[in-house]
């Protein structure tokens, strides 16, 4: 195998090359690099490692993945290069890339030969190139090492001839002893592996969500007589009042006055028509954007020809509003040499007379002021009442919290438009607001709030028992999602102070494989039989497809065994009932 870098042949040792298959992810590459480093005795002078991508791999063809690879190897202080086969057409432009090509010629144009960091183009070839890594090429260091080894063996041979024989016997005895020990250990482990092979299946029982919808009859003094089977569950509610709450609402005034100033400046009018023109005061001059400027006095334009045009300088001033009624203000500060047309002229004369600014226009400012309109007061009072209703639930809940702290109860607000009321609304605002130049003004709202509350623990008991009574067979309730409890009041009797509401509660149930009435041993035996003698991957799939299993893990002894044991007595099932924490 030959390698080229910048169109020059280079040598790379096999042991410095890591081949990266297509299914290798970043952690796999890093593992291989770590193995390479561990196999190298000299940690202070680690050689450069070359990653050989023989297919279009994401870690080299996605810039972001290459950056991750580069940074991860940099963390290890590992210098690296990349080898690509010659059939790969091009790669994205990547900085800091030490690129080497394997087994082919580089048809890179001459001009690009000295710039390896540019996008490179390669000749197309076979996509199935069988790449044989270089076995015959030796570096000078390797050749030197071989010579050294050869001379060392010569020295040893000479020494054996010279040394006394008992030393040789001693050394031989030690050698035999070491071999015996190693062999007996290997033998012991081999026998243990064949005598006691076993597999442990750790399974997490099936987890599924469960949801229940139930109606609850809420009563204040005594429950209504049962006339509907839907409200068999009963719960006491408590009426409470939060008196004289106060809140401030700010309302933005809607009246607008344009108090900006209009820009002005000089323009040069050019006439090429063969007749004179008299332009009346307030003649319009229009920009491309539709802004209008007007002259202030009479203007007389002398007759001219296209070859000898006549000119007139006049001062014009911007209108307050543009064609769509938006204030002009600062936009009227035109730049020098802005072209203007005269829209008031007849079509035939429009092309003969034109104007152009002679200077930068100045004086245009955009400024608006807001004032309170009479309709604002009506809108503001409606807005304030709506705001109060929006805040109603929050304020009632706050009042209830304070009550709970003193009475040590666990009452929760029953949130429904039918059960929350606002009484005695009073609005206060400053006098004579109409016409005042205010961006916004404030309204003080005060009212009495009234609502109903229920005991949190009582509701939770009802909901939990409902879920428990509706679990799937051989399941246990693992979690109840009280945080996302939903309910809706669908019937109100204000005279009796009773309500009917539909509650929706969700939870998680898990198959119960311990302590249930199910014949667990039978289930375990079925599980064992289904995986007996199967390859581990296949067995894992079989386990996961079982309706009682959420996930599973398989551990075998000896670790190198890729199949599950054939002996059912050596299979062990462990149940792990932990489930991911639900929010």
């Amino acid at each position: 195998m030959k390698f080229k870098k910048n169109n020059k042949k280079i040598k790379i040792l096999d042991k410095h090359i890591i081949k990266v298959p297509q299914d290798f992810r970043l952690p796999d590459i890093l593992n291989e690099v770590k193995k390479f480093r561990e196999s190298n005795p000299n940690l202070h002078a680690l050689p450069k490692v070359y990653l050989f991508f023989d297919v279009k791999h994401i870690n080299i063809f996605s810039t972001i993945h290459y950056q991750v690879l580069f940074r991860s190897l940099k963390d290890l202080n590992q210098d690296f290069g990349v080898i690509l086969p010659n059939f790969i057409d091009s790669i994205p432009s990547i900085k800091n890339l030490d690129l080497v090509y394997a087994d082919g010629e580089m048809p890179v144009p001459e001009s690009k030969q000295n710039s390896p960091k540019q996008d490179l183009v390669f000749k197309k070839g076979s996509e199935n190139a069988k790449v044989q890594l270089n076995a015959d090429i030796k570096t000078p260091q390797e050749e030197e090492l071989e010579m050294y080894k050869e001379s060392l063996s010569n020295i040893k041979q000479q020494a054996q001839k010279v040394l006394p024989s008992h030393q040789i016997q001693n050394r031989g005895f030690k050698k035999i002893l070491t071999i015996c020990t190693v062999l007996s250990l290997v033998g012991f482990f081999t026998i243990a592996a064949f005598a006691f092979p076993n597999t442990t299946l750790t399974i997490v029982p099936k987890i599924s969500s469960i949801e229940q919808v139930l109606n609850i009859h809420l009563y204040q003094d005594k429950p209504s007589e049962i006339n509907e089977s839907s409200s068999l569950n009963k719960l006491k509610v408590y009426n409470f009042t939060v008196p004289q709450i106060q809140t401030n609402v700010r309302f933005v005034s809607t009246g607008v006055n344009n108090i900006g100033t209009n820009a002005k400046g000089k323009v040069k009018i050019t006439n090429t028509a063969p007749k004179p023109f008299n332009l009346v005061p307030f003649t319009r001059f229009q920009t491309e954007d539709g802004l209008i400027f007007r002259s202030q006095d009479f203007i007389y334009l002398e007759a001219a020809t296209p070859a000898n045009p006549t000119f007139q300088e006049v001062e014009v001033m911007a209108d307050a509003f543009d064609l769509v009624g938006v204030g002009v203000g600062q936009r009227g500060n035109l730049k020098l040499d802005t072209k203007l047309t005269l829209p008031g002229l007849k079509e035939s004369s429009k092309n003969l007379i034109s104007a152009q600014t002679l200077e930068d226009f100045t004086g245009g400012t955009t400024k608006i002021e807001k004032f309170v309109k009479d309709t604002d007061l009506v809108a503001a009072s409606e807005f304030a009442q709506k705001e109060l209703r929006v805040k109603l639930a929050g304020m009632l809940a706050e009042g209830l919290d304070q009550k709970n702290q003193t009475t040590k109860e666990d009452l929760v607000l029953l949130e429904s438009p039918e059960t929350m009321n606002v009484n005695n609304i009073k609005l206060e605002m400053d006098n004579n607001l109409i016409g005042q130049k205010l961006h916004s003004f404030q309204i003080k709202v005060s009212a009495d709030l009234n609502g109903y509350a229920y005991s949190k623990s009582s509701v939770e008991n009802i909901l939990r028992s409902k879920l428990l009574s509706n679990l799937d067979p051989h399941n246990t309730l693992k979690n109840v999602d009280f945080k996302n409890l939903n309910y809706k009041v669908f019937k109100t009797d204000s005279e009796l102070g009773t309500f009917d509401a539909t509650f929706v509660i969700t939870g998680l149930q898990q198959a119960q494989l311990s302590g249930s009435t199910m014949d667990v041993q039978k289930v375990f035996n079925q599980l064992k039989l289904s995986v007996l003698g199967q390859p581990t991957d296949m067995a894992l799939e079989i386990l996961k497809e079982n309706p009682l299993v959420e996930t599973a893990e398989i551990k075998s002894f000896p670790a190198w065994k890729s199949n599950i044991t054939n002996n059912i007595n050596n299979l062990k099932v462990i149940v792990n009932e932990s489930i991911p924490r639900q929010s």
Partner: protein
């Protein structure tokens, strides 16, 4: 004025897509004509910065932004004449409240479900689910005046088995899952005002997670993570349909703040440093910056792990991860996602190739932060082409007799 200017008959017909985010407004002009692969060409892309507060947006104080949009469109028009046929607006999830809601009903297992029963079930559950989300939205926005901007039927289950058409089937229980989204009426009015102010009536509003869901075209689940300058949004989708979504209060700003504190920099300097770091230009000691980045991104990954548990994804083997937004160009995001989430596939950076109805021959979309805008355009073009993904909801809406897919 603009309407007249841009509506001559000789120009190219285009769609204008607006993405109103918290600190900028992105615009995309897409040709209404498509090539043989049903790809519409992107003709222009503009980003208009603004400093409007949420209150100003709600109040419709758009004068400065209107002027800027007019200026940009005029400039583009002078380069190459066009006519805007439809104007579409995308909404960041900070501006709306959405929720999935399941309703269950008991039915007679001996009788098959007919159109009348189904209609009753759907109408009842739709009304229940709307009320439930509306209540949440009222609490979030502290506002009673809301507008329903999206209402989709996600799934119908008979005895806990998913079916596409329940008519004629028998079951003891029927569960219906709806997705509803509300925004403040004030916001809807002000967006309509903005588009009509510049001359084009608003034809459609699209929500970020709904639009992004279309990236998942296969049966594999897709976890789409958008790491932007103000938040991180996570969307779980399958076969183009939205399953779950959540917003995390984590953004690239967290990384910038970490740099600013650690290296005593101003916000602008820290921002530049992050951009350079993503481009392999290291202003400070490389290892210090990498350490700071890894520490910060790790916090995001921990929150993501929590979200994955909430989404009830127990095995990432069948889930493909897509990342988008400016933060997706931080290599450490990809690195930690692949390492920590035990993902068996590769994390993919969202690019134009993931949006099957769009083509960018001029390479205009270079900013990774603009990818979300492509999602809105892609969703609009997908609905326009009436492909199979929208057929299901169209049928159901017919049964429900709802006004349309979106009530805008």
């Amino acid at each position: 004025m603009l309407k007249n200017l841009f509506s001559k008959t000789t120009e190219i017909d285009t769609f204008l897509i607006l993405d109103f985010a918290q600190n900028n407004l992105k615009m995309l002009l897409v040709s209404s004509k498509y090539n043989s692969q049903f790809e519409h060409f992107i003709l222009a892309h503009e980003v208009v910065k603004h400093e409007l507060t949420l209150q100003q947006i709600l109040e419709g104080e758009f004068e400065s932004i209107r002027q800027e949009i007019t200026k940009r469109l005029t400039k583009l028009y002078k380069k190459s004449a066009f006519n805007i046929v439809s104007c579409i607006c995308g909404l960041d999830d900070a501006f709306f409240e959405s929720s999935f809601y399941t309703s269950s009903f008991q039915t007679n297992p001996t009788e098959s479900i007919d159109m009348g029963t189904l209609q009753n079930i759907l109408q009842q559950s739709h009304s229940k689910t709307r009320l439930s989300v509306m209540k949440k939205a009222q609490q979030k926005f502290k506002d009673a005046n809301l507008k329903l901007i999206q209402s989709d039927l996600i799934d119908i289950r008979l005895d806990n088995k998913s079916v596409t058409n329940p008519l004629g089937l028998k079951a003891a229980s029927v569960s219906v899952i709806f997705f509803n989204a509300f925004c403040q009426e004030k916001l809807y009015d002000s967006l309509t005002k903005l588009t009509s102010y510049i001359g084009f009536p608003l034809s459609q509003i699209y929500l970020q997670p709904v639009a992004q869901s279309l990236i998942s075209q296969t049966n594999q689940k897709a976890l789409i993570i958008e790491l932007s300058h103000s938040k991180t949004s996570i969307t779980l989708a399958k076969s183009g349909r939205l399953l779950k979504s959540k917003t995390l209060n984590f953004s690239t700003q967290n990384v910038i703040n970490e740099y600013a504190n650690r290296f005593t920099l101003t916000q602008d300097q820290a921002f530049d440093m992050l951009i350079n770091y993503c481009n392999d230009k290291f202003e400070k000691e490389y290892r210090d910056i990498r350490k700071a980045t890894l520490i910060t991104i790790n916090k995001l990954i921990q929150e993501l792990k929590q979200t994955i548990i909430e989404f009830k994804i127990f095995d990432m083997k069948d889930t493909q991860i897509y990342i988008m937004g400016g933060g997706s160009y931080i290599p450490e995001v990809t690195e930690l996602l692949e390492e920590e989430l035990n993902n068996y596939g590769c994390t993919q950076l969202c690019t134009i190739k993931h949006f099957k109805y769009l083509s960018d021959p001029q390479d205009l979309i270079k900013d990774p932060g603009s990818i979300a805008l492509l999602a809105y355009a892609n969703k609009f073009l997908s609905d326009k082409n009436k492909n199979s993904e929208s057929a299901f909801s169209a049928n159901i809406n017919q049964i429900l007799r709802l006004t349309s897919h979106n009530e805008v």
